[in-house]
């Protein structure tokens, strides 16, 4: 039986279905530089994506940002604990992708961190693996695994709440969700509530991690959509090449 889809996936599917709605016109072949740029940007659904970005910005300023500001009343050790718990819950997914990518050392780090943080870290609330054993967290997801297999990124998409993402990574998120421990417990009200709480907490944890960056971008960027699209692509390239992050960085959205 199909499990009810979380809101995020509903948005994702709605975005895919509506992709046909608006397509950008490629520049003429007489302007090779513009054409090269158009290909590199890889955003054939730009008009639609920009509309979705506007929807996201409206949701963000009306709901997400105010919630985030309230969340920031909590002292940072508490918020760090939320991040640690979420990252501990994510261990099986990261471990699976470490192994699929043929990274035994990183897989060992992931597994070791899980045992240390679940026991000494009191169920993941404290990241003792990093603070006492010097093994920092890292993230992998199935989108990155697909990239290491040589799968191209596919067209760029902007999905409200989920944010900037490409088709490959969106598909990867579907696989990661299926591989997630909460999915194994089958269904039922409790599992659905837990999944919902976790999904909400992930959105909030990510929003909080980028709080200053988002404010800064909205204040200074002449075209926040284009800036975000490019920054996201660079950040993903760094994550795929494992050049990302000392210490904490939240999982890809």
């Amino acid at each position: 039986m199909l499990r009810p889809l979380p809101a995020i996936h509903f948005f994702a599917i709605a975005a895919l279905v509506s992709l046909l709605a608006g397509c950008a016109t490629p520049p003429p072949a007489s302007d090779p530089e513009a054409l090269a740029e158009y290909r590199a940007t890889n955003d054939p659904a730009e008009p639609f994506n920009r509309a979705m970005f506007d929807v996201h910005q409206a949701i963000d300023s009306a709901i997400l940002r105010p919630i985030n500001i309230a969340y920031r009343w909590l002292p940072s050790p508490v918020r760090n604990s939320v991040s640690s718990v979420l990252s501990n819950i994510r261990t099986p997914v990261v471990l699976l992708n470490d192994m699929l990518q043929g990274e035994p050392v990183r897989a060992g780090d992931t597994l070791g961190r899980f045992f240390i943080n679940t026991t000494l870290g009191l169920g993941g609330f404290f990241d003792v693996a990093e603070t006492h054993f010097g093994v920092p967290v890292h993230y992998e997801d199935f989108g990155q695994t697909l990239a290491t297999f040589g799968v191209g990124e596919g067209p760029f998409l902007f999905v409200p709440i989920l944010g900037p993402i490409n088709l490959r990574d969106l598909a990867g998120q579907g696989v990661d969700t299926a591989a997630q421990p909460l999915t194994w417990f089958g269904q039922g009200l409790t599992v659905n509530i837990l999944s919902g709480v976790r999904a909400g907490a992930v959105v909030l944890d990510n929003r909080d991690y980028y709080f200053d960056v988002i404010d800064d971008m909205n204040r200074t960027s002449l075209d926040p959509y284009a800036a975000l699209r490019n920054a996201r692509r660079q950040a993903r390239a760094a994550a795929i090449a494992n050049r990302d992050a000392v210490g904490h960085q939240p999982p890809s959205r």
Binding site: E37, S76, L222, Y225, A226
Partner: protein
């Protein structure tokens, strides 16, 4: 077999010859030293308890004006549109670009109270610049990687890019400006008026 190995050595030798930098070589140690001292100055200004917010930003801005190769960055960011722009537009652009770059960076750094930084392990070099990696920490936030791209094209080490956790600022900005121009009908003037509107805010 031996022949094969010999050939490999020959190829290796040739590769080494080819990678010898021919011009404007940047010494990584010098670049790292430069970032260490510019960073120390910035941190001292940001954390100076005797300064109010405006004075702090002004001090940070003056350090940046000295340490950043604004013209090189500006040309890079305008990219292919630099050639399309008229000389007057180029002048206008560089003036607006300097103001916005310094204002944005000073505004961002100015808020980083309690910030500290340390040089990272890896220092690398490309054909004409060096990449100096640092780790930036501030209270209540997680540490992050900040790499500084340094050139010596003007004879002195200068910053030409900041790369935060793998994301280059100048690449992001180039893409942003290209989008503004493209949406403005391919006119550099569209970018200039957007920049002017922002500096008036």
């Amino acid at each position: 077999m031996l022949l094969l190995i010999r050939r490999d050595f020959a190829v290796l030798g040739l590769a080494l010859l080819c990678t010898q930098p021919s011009h404007a070589q940047v010494d990584t140690a010098r670049a790292a030293q430069f970032i260490q001292s510019a960073g120390d100055e910035l941190v001292a200004a940001i954390n100076n308890p005797g300064l109010n917010a405006a004075a702090r930003q002004e001090r940070v801005a003056s350090i940046l004006r000295r340490s950043v190769d604004v013209e090189t960055v500006g040309r890079f960011v305008l990219g292919r549109f630099w050639r399309v722009a008229t000389p007057a537009e180029q002048q206008d652009y560089l003036r607006l670009f300097e103001a916005s770059l310094i204002r944005n960076l000073a505004g961002r750094f100015g808020e980083y109270q309690g910030v500290r930084f340390s040089l990272g392990r890896s220092q690398s070099r490309t054909e004409d610049d060096a990449l100096v990696s640092t780790i930036v920490t501030r209270p209540g936030s997680n540490p992050f990687n900040l790499d500084w791209r340094v050139t010596e094209s003007s004879g002195q080490p200068k910053i030409v890019d900041l790369i935060a956790e793998g994301t280059s600022l100048r690449l992001t900005q180039r893409s942003e400006y290209a989008s503004v121009i493209q949406r403005g009908g391919g006119q550099v003037a569209a970018l200039l008026s957007a920049m002017r509107a922002q500096s008036a805010r």
